[in-house]
Symmetry: C2
Subunit: 210 residues, 2 copies
């Protein structure tokens, strides 16, 4: 796993995010439109042609493989390719996870057509994915990511699409490299999905010192 260091200021981070976040939002909106559009085949094929042209312009200069997880020397993480919270990743649901002291992470979100499982409802696997990320962020200390050891998810009722949802995770216990976390996803009717996770801190991973 790659933890490259990129020596940039918070101002430079903010400047880059101001460019890429609207681009990612535009792609997210395109993903939704492709799912819901009822235009005719000719219009769909024309859209494909135009999308391929845009992709070609972006690929004239690109990284090999994946975005990776760069950090600044101050250990500010920039996991912008991340599947759940990456600022450049249109697959990531439109949400921001906030962390609080004491091992707490929470978020609010509304999930649209792209997150569908059963008709009109959030995919159970998407719920599991969100809970995994929430548990990881609750368990993280000083920005050091931890890895999921075990994740157990219990589904109580389906979560609706296009409705306000809340996610929350809280560390219940730490024991050596293991951190135990409980998490929930809730809608207007209360908790819909519950999770318990055992997160593992990477072996030999140390906070960088300046």
């Amino acid at each position: 796993m790659d933890f490259r260091v990129e020596d940039i200021t918070q101002e430079e981070i903010d400047r880059r995010l101001a460019v890429v976040e609207p681009l990612t939002d535009a792609v997210r909106d395109l993903v939704d439109a492709v799912i819901r559009s009822t235009v005719d085949d000719e219009a769909l094929s024309a859209a494909r042609g135009r999308i391929e042209e845009v992709t070609a312009t972006l690929r004239t200069q690109q990284r090999e493989g994946s975005f990776g997880t760069p950090f600044t020397p101050e250990f500010v993480g920039m996991p912008w390719g991340n599947a759940v919270v990456g600022a450049r990743n249109a697959l990531a649901p439109p949400l921001r996870i906030d962390q609080e002291a004491g091992g707490i992470a929470h978020c609010r979100m509304t999930l649209g057509a792209a997150y569908e499982g059963p008709g009109g409802c959030v995919h159970g696997g998407v719920a599991a994915m969100l809970l995994d990320q929430l548990c990881g962020e609750a368990a993280a200390v000083e920005g050091v990511p931890s890895f999921t050891g075990t994740l157990t998810v219990k589904y109580l009722h389906p979560l609706p699409l296009n409705a306000p949802l809340r996610g929350r995770a809280e560390v219940t216990r730490r024991e050596g490299r293991k951190t135990f976390v409980g998490a929930t996803l809730a809608d207007a009717d209360g908790v819909a999905v519950q999770a318990e996770a055992i997160m593992i801190a990477p072996r030999g991973f140390e906070l960088p010192t300046e």
Copy 2:
């Protein structure tokens, strides 16, 4: 949950897929390019403008809410908006899950930059999402979907991005409305993630008769 019936032939299904699958692939490719591109800010912003134009053309006619889960009268499912297997959903990983008699489902796939968690590795939440879908497809009988009751995922080693992966799920036991399923995701080094699921058949769900 919505189970609308759409009376179309297999030929019409195939014709529609031949148009939407290449469009979805083009959007998937765009998602990847946005993550990995290193072109300058001006080029990124120009790409955003062009994407917004394409989205506007697609939104001139569209469904409300989400795609839903239509079926033909012969009970062929068309969950084309599905977050993991939807033919119109660019978030869905590039894979096809095959089912075998006896409650077995399997797939092969290579996951790119859009599925990243730890640098260079598949996001643990993405692995959970894939295992949830695999368990659901193994448990499905005659196309009738089942819902996840409990999903337990155990992570043994990280799965690499951009490498061939295999997924497999198998029903171990059925008991009333409950189906017990075991599943794995593996790379060249063997099983990396294991799951056990209890899937629940929807109450009162009956196969439609003509």
